[in-house]
C-alpha cells in the first residue's frame, strides 16, 4: 500500500531537500489506505479482551466455562494457555501476557476470546467469572519511592524503584558554591499523565501459517522488537513470527509496547483461523502506556548577573505497574534535567517507580518533557527574582558547541541556542488586544463568558533540549535494502526497510534519499516487514537519522557497484582510475563534472544491483549508576517557543492567541513534513499545558474517552509562526538533526509562562486548571479532581447538525 511512484517531476525536486507529495497521500484521501483496523481475511474471527476492573487484586479463580459455551465462541484463553514465556517487556520482561495470580493495574488483560463477530466476543468476555481478592492499591508515587515499610507492587522486589539515576557534577552542596548565589528559588512541580491519543485504535490481524507460525499485520512503531518479544511467549522461533506493517493511525510512543500482538497470535494459533483484534477508544486508553506523571522539586541558585551557580533536583516519575521503558525515561530526565544551560555544580536525582497506576512508557519527548516544564519554570522564577528579561537569562546561560553537560558529556557540533533565541525575539508579535482589526476570540470562546473584562494578555518563552536516537550504549541500528533495475527503459530504485511509517512522512523521505543518491526519477518504497533486518523504532526522533542513514549507505553501495559494472562493460569510457572515481549518478545517467557519460539503462541493461546495509550511529556509553557521568547521547536538538495568551483571570480560562517557534534541524530534508512535525509537536505541548490528563484516583482511570480526555481542537490552536535554522551536524547524514520531539518540549513551558505572566500566579502543576489560574484561593481540594470546567472552546451550533 505504500509502494508507488512519484508524480512526474525532476529528480532534484523530489530528492533530498524537496517536498514531493506523500506516496500514500492519494490512498489516504480516497479512503482506500488500509489501516490495521480495516484489514479483513476469509474466515476471520474477532478477538476481545477481558480486563481487570481493579488496580490491585489477587486472582483467586477464573471460570471460563460459560463463555466457552456461547454459540459462535471459538476460544477462551487465560494465562495458563500462553504457549511459552508468560511475560514480556521492552527492557525488563515483567509484564504478563495475561495476568497470572495478581492484577497490578486497572485494565490489565486477564483473558481473551475469539468469536465469529466482535459483539459475540465482547459478550463472551462479560460472562467470564473472575474471583478477585481486592488489595489496597499503591497509587502515591512518593510513598512508593520512600516508604520503607510500604507494600511492594512486585512482591519479589526489594523496593518499588525501577531505576534510580543520580547525576553529580561539581559540588552544589558546598557552602562556598552556595554563597555565590544572589538568588535561590525552590519550587515543586507536577505533571499529569498525558495520553498519546493517536486516532487509529490498536488493531491487528493474525493469520496462522502452514509452518505452524503466524503472520501478523500490525500497526506498530518497531516490527522487530515486537517479533523479539512475541516469539518466546508463543514458543516459536523468531522466523516463524513474521510481521508486516499495516497502516498506522498515529503513534507518538504509544505503539512502542505490545498491545494485542501476542493475544491475537495466540487466538489464531489456537483456532487455526485468522483473528482480528480492534480496540475501541475506551480500551485504547487501557491498551497502551502513557506519559509518566512527574513530581519534581527543583532548587536553582544564580548570581546577581543571572548566571546559574548551582541546581539541585529530585525527579519522581510514575512508571505504573510494569517497567516498559521507564528505565530509559529516567535516564533522559536525569541527563537533560537542567536543560540546555551551563552549570558546574549540579545534583539531579531521578527515580522511576512502580505503582498500581496505569503503566507509563514512551511518549513524544520521553522524560525530557517533564524536566523541561520544571527547569524552564525555574529559569522564569530566577529571572523574576532578579528583575531580568526571561530571554536574556536563557541567552546568558545557553549551551553552545563545546559546552559540558552535567553528565560530563561535551556537546559536539553546533548547539545554536543563542541563535534560536535571537531569531525568536525578532518574530512579529500579534497586535495588542482589540487592535487586530478582526475580533480575537476571548477566553471561553463562543461561550460569551466575558466581554473583555478580567482578560489579561501574557507572553512567555520556553526552550527545550532533546536527545536524538537511543542513548546509554544502545546500538539502535537500521537496515536498508536498495535495488536498482531498469523497467520500461527507466531506472527504478526500490527501497526495502522495516521502518514504521506512522504518519511522519518517512516513506516519502526514503524515496527522496534514493532519488538523490542514485540520480533517478523513480523510487519506490516497499511495504515494511520483518523479511529485511531491523530498522529500529520510529521513536526518539531517530528515523530520518538512522533509516535515512541506512538508505543513504545502501544507495552508496549500489552506486559503487554500478560504477564497477560500467568499468567492466565500458572500459574505454574513461581513461584513468582517477576519472572513474569522480563519476556521479544524476539524471538517470553516469556523469562526470555534470556532463552525462552514459545512461544508467545502458550500463545496467537487464542486470539488477542490490545492496543491503546496516547503519550505526556513533557509540554511546551508559551513565555511571553512582555519578551519572558518561557520554550517553548521540545528538542534541533544540527548539524555542514564544506563546501569547489571553487569560480571563476571573474564570481561569485561557485562549492562546499566537505561538512562534524556532528550531534548529541541521538540514531540511523535506520542508513540508518537517513543518508538520513542528506544528503537531507544538499542539501536543499545548495539550499538556492546558487540557490533557488521564485522571486517576486510587489507581482507577476516570476519563477513558474523548468526551473526558480533551485534546486540542482546531479552535484551541493558535496561528503558529515558524523559523527553521540549519546548523549542520558534521556527524549525521546530510547534517540533519532529529526534529519530531523538541517542539513538544518547549511549547508547554512557553504557554504556562505566558499564563503566569497574565495572571501573576506561580502555576506549578500541568495541565493548568481554571481554579489554579483564577483568583480563587479557597478551592476545595476535593473538587480539584472533578471536571467543573474545561478549557475547550465551545463552538456555536452547527448549521448542519451532526446525527
Amino acid at each position: 500500500m505504500t509502494a508507488t511512484t512519484s508524480p512526474v517531476s525532476t529528480a532534484v525536486d523530489n530528492g533530498v531537500g524537496g517536498s514531493p507529495l506523500r506516496p500514500d497521500g492519494t490512498l489516504k484521501v480516497t479512503g482506500e489506505f488500509a489501516y490495521s483496523s480495516d484489514l479483513w481475511a476469509e474466515g476471520m474471527l474477532y478477538g476481545a479482551t477481558l480486563r481487570s476492573p481493579h488496580p490491585r487484586a489477587r486472582i483467586l479463580s477464573i471460570d471460563t466455562s460459560a463463555a466457552s459455551e456461547i454459540a459462535g465462541v471459538h476460544a477462551v484463553l487465560t494465562s495458563a494457555d500462553v504457549p511459552g514465556k508468560k511475560t514480556y517487556g521492552l527492557i525488563v520482561d515483567d509484564c504478563p501476557v495475561l495476568a497470572t495470580d495478581e492484577v497490578r493495574y486497572h485494565g490489565e488483560p486477564v483473558a481473551i476470546v475469539a468469536a465469529d463477530d466482535l459483539d459475540t466476543a465482547r459478550r463472551a468476555c462479560k460472562t467470564i467469572v473472575v474471583e478477585y481478592e481486592v488489595l489496597p492499591p499503591i497509587s502515591d508515587m512518593r510513598r512508593a519511592a520512600f516508604d520503607p515499610d510500604g507494600p511492594r507492587v512486585h512482591a519479589g522486589r526489594a523496593d518499588n524503584i525501577v531505576r534510580y539515576q543520580p547525576v553529580r557534577h561539581g559540588n552544589p552542596a558546598d557552602d562556598d558554591v552556595r554563597a555565590r548565589a544572589a538568588v535561590v528559588v525552590t519550587r515543586e512541580y507536577e505533571v499529569g499523565m498525558q495520553d498519546q491519543a493517536f486516532l487509529g485504535p490498536e488493531s491487528g490481524l493474525a493469520i496462522p501459517a502452514r509452518d505452524g507460525g503466524v503472520d501478523l499485520h500490525i500497526a506498530t512503531q518497531w516490527l522487530h522488537v515486537d517479533q523479539e518479544q512475541m516469539a518466546p511467549c508463543l514458543a516459536l522461533p523468531p522466523e516463524k513470527v513474521r510481521l508486516t506493517l499495516a497502516g498506522v493511525g498515529g503513534a507518538f510512543g504509544g505503539r512502542e509496547d505490545l498491545s494485542m500482538q501476542i493475544h491475537a497470535s495466540m487466538l489464531a494459533l489456537r483456532t487455526g483461523r485468522p483473528v482480528k483484534m480492534v480496540y475501541d477508544r475506551k480500551e485504547s486508553f487501557f491498551g497502551h502506556v502513557h506519559r509518566h506523571p512527574a513530581l519534581m522539586k527543583y532548587t536553582h541558585g544564580a548570581d546577581a548577573d543571572g548566571r546559574l551557580v548551582f541546581v539541585t533536583a529530585e525527579i519522581l516519575l510514575d512508571g505504573g505497574a510494569y517497567a516498559s521503558t521507564t528505565e530509559a525515561v529516567v535516564g533522559n530526565a536525569a541527563s537533560l534535567g537542567i536543560g540546555p544551560y551551563e552549570c558546574d555544580d549540579v545534583l539531579i536525582e531521578a527515580y522511576g517507580l512502580y505503582t498500581n497506576n496505569p503503566p507509563c512508557g514512551a511518549m513524544r519527548g520521553f522524560g525530557a518533557v517533564q524536566a523541561c516544564f520544571a527547569y524552564e519554570s525555574q529559569m522564569d522564577a530566577l529571572a523574576e527574582a532578579l528583575g531580568m528579561d526571561p530571554v536574556e537569562i536563557r541567552r546568558l546561560n545557553a549551551v553552545h558547541e563545546g559546552s559540558i553537560l552535567p553528565t560530563g558529556q561535551r556537546i559536539e557540533g553546533p548547539a545554536p541556542l543563542r541563535e534560536i533565541l535571537g531569531a525568536l525575539v525578532t518574530m512579529p508579535m500579534p497586535p495588542a488586544p482589540g487592535r487586530s482589526g478582526r475580533s480575537e476570540l476571548p477566553p471561553g470562546g463562543y461561550g460569551n463568558t466575558t466581554r473583555g473584562e478580567g482578560v489579561r494578555r501574557g507572553v512567555g518563552y520556553g526552550v527545550g533540549i532533546k536527545n536524538i536516537c537511543y542513548s546509554e550504549g544502545f546500538d539502535d541500528f537500521s537496515t536498508a535494502r536498495v535495488r536498482l533495475e531498469i523497467s520500461g527503459g527507466e531506472p527504478i530504485a526500490s527501497v526495502h526497510t522495516a521502518a514504521a511509517e506512522v504518519g511522519q512522512g518517512l516513506v516519502t523521505l526514503q524515496a527522496q534519499i534514493a532519488r538523490t543518491e542514485l540520480g533517478v526519477d523513480h523510487a519506490v518504497v516497499l511495504p515494511a516487514d520483518t523479511a529485511v533486518g531491523s530498522a529500529g523504532s520510529s521513536s526518539a526522533s531517530r528515523q530520518s537519522y538512522m533509516t535515512g542513514g541506512a538508505v543513504k549507505t545502501a544507495c552508496e553501495a549500489v552506486r559503487a557497484e554500478v560504477l564497477t559494472l560500467a568499468k567492466q562493460k565500458f572500459p574505454a569510457l574513461l581513461p584513468t582510475t582517477e576519472a572513474w572515481s569522480q563519476v556521479q549518478l544524476s539524471e538517470c545517467a553516469l556523469t562526470l563534472h555534470n556532463r552525462p557519460l552514459i545512461k544508467l539503462s545502458d550500463v545496467l541493461g537487464t542486470d539488477t544491483i542490490e545492496a543491503t546495509r546496516e547503519y550505526h550511529h556513533r557509540r554511546t556509553n551508559p551513565l555511571d549508576p553512582a555519578t551519572g557521568q558518561g557520554d550517553s547521547h548521540v545528538q542534541f536538538a533544540m527548539a524555542a517557543h514564544r506563546a501569547v495568551v489571553d487569560v480571563d483571570v476571573e474564570l481561569g480560562l485561557v485562549h492562546v492567541v499566537q505561538m512562534d517557534v524556532v528550531q534548529d534541524v541541521g538540514k531540511i530534508l523535506n520542508r513540508l513534513s518537517l513543518e508538520g512535525q513542528i506544528q503537531g509537536g507544538t499542539a501536543q505541548g499545548l495539550g499538556l499545558a492546558l487540557m490533557e490528563e488521564i485522571q486517576t484516583r486510587d489507581g482507577l482511570v476516570r476519563n477513558p474517552s474523548f468526551t473526558d480526555y480533551l485534546i486540542p481542537t482546531i479552535l484551541d490552536m493558535p496561528p503558529l509562526n515558524m523559523r527553521i535554522l540549519e546548523f549542520a551536524d558534521p556527524d549525521s547524514p546530510y547534517g540533519l538533526r532529529g526534529a519530531g520531539e523538541p517542539p513538544t518540549l518547549s511549547s508547554t513551558p512557553a504557554i504556562v509562562a505566558a499564563v503566569r505572566n497574565a495572571c501573576g500566579r506561580d502555576l506549578t502543576r500541568i495541565p493548568l486548571q481554571p481554579h489554579q489560574i483564577a483568583l480563587v484561593d479557597d478551592w476545595p481540594a476535593s473538587r480539584a479532581l472533578g471536571r467543573a470546567f474545561t478549557h475547550r472552546l465551545t463552538p456555536p451550533p452547527r448549521i448542519a447538525a451532526r446525527g
Binding site: 492519494t26 484521501v29 477508544r281 504518519g503 523535506n670 513534513s673 448542519a800
Partner: protein, 174 residues
C-alpha cells in the same frame, strides 16, 4: 450469532446497495465498514467526539457512529469513497495532499467530508475567501492528532479560494 441479522438497503455514493445480516444494533459506521465494504469512514472514538466517521446522510453531515444503521434505511449516504469521480480526486482531496494536511491520515476522511459541507454552504457567496475563524468553527468537530491543524487550514484555504471551480488545481508545495 444469536441475533437475527437485518436487511439494509441504502443508496451509497449514488448506487443502490443492499446488505443482509446487519446486526440490528449496528451503527451506520459499522454497517458501512463491515457490511458494505467501505472502510473509509474511520472508527477513532465511536462516541461522536472526533468526527473521523463523518458521512453525509441525505446531504447532511453526521457522525455515522451515532446513527443506527436502521435509521439510514432507504436513505442516501455519501462517504469519503464517493468524493473522487472519473475525473480524479476532488479539489479538496488534492489540496489536502499538496498542503501536507495528511500525516497518518486517520482523521482525513472526516475532515474531507466536513470541508465538503463547508464548501457547499459557502458556494455562491460573494466573499470568496472565507474568514479564518469561520473555517475553524466549521472544522471544530474534527480531531487531528498529527498536524496541529495548520496545514489543514492551508488546504482548506487553497481549496475554497475558488469555490465555483472544484477541479482547478491548487499550487502544490512540492
Amino acid at each position: 450469532m444469536t441475533d437475527q441479522g437485518m436487511r439494509l438497503e441504502l443508496t451509497v455514493n449514488g448506487r443502490r446497495r443492499v446488505a443482509t445480516d446487519v446486526p440490528p444494533f449496528a451503527s451506520l459506521l459499522s454497517a458501512l465498514r463491515e457490511h458494505f465494504g467501505l472502510p473509509g469512514a474511520k472508527n477513532a472514538c465511536e462516541q461522536g467526539e472526533c468526527g473521523s466517521c463523518t458521512v453525509f446522510l441525505d446531504g447532511t453531515p453526521v457522525c455515522s457512529c451515532l446513527v443506527a444503521a436502521g435509521q439510514a434505511e432507504g436513505r442516501e449516504v455519501t462517504t469519503v469513497e464517493g468524493l473522487a469521480d472519473e475525473a480524479g480526486l476532488s479539489l479538496v482531496q488534492r489540496a489536502f495532499v499538496a498542503a501536507g494536511a495528511v500525516q497518518c491520515g486517520f482523521c482525513t476522511p472526516g475532515f474531507l467530508m466536513a470541508v465538503r459541507d463547508l464548501q457547499s454552504r459557502a458556494r455562491g457567496r460573494t466573499i470568496i475567501n472565507l474568514d479564518d475563524e469561520e473555517v475553524r468553527e466549521a472544522l471544530a468537530g474534527n480531531l487531528c492528532r498529527c498536524t496541529g491543524y495548520e496545514k489543514v487550514i492551508d488546504a482548506v484555504r487553497a481549496a475554497l479560494a475558488h469555490p465555483t471551480d472544484p477541479q482547478r488545481a491548487v499550487g502544490a508545495s512540492g
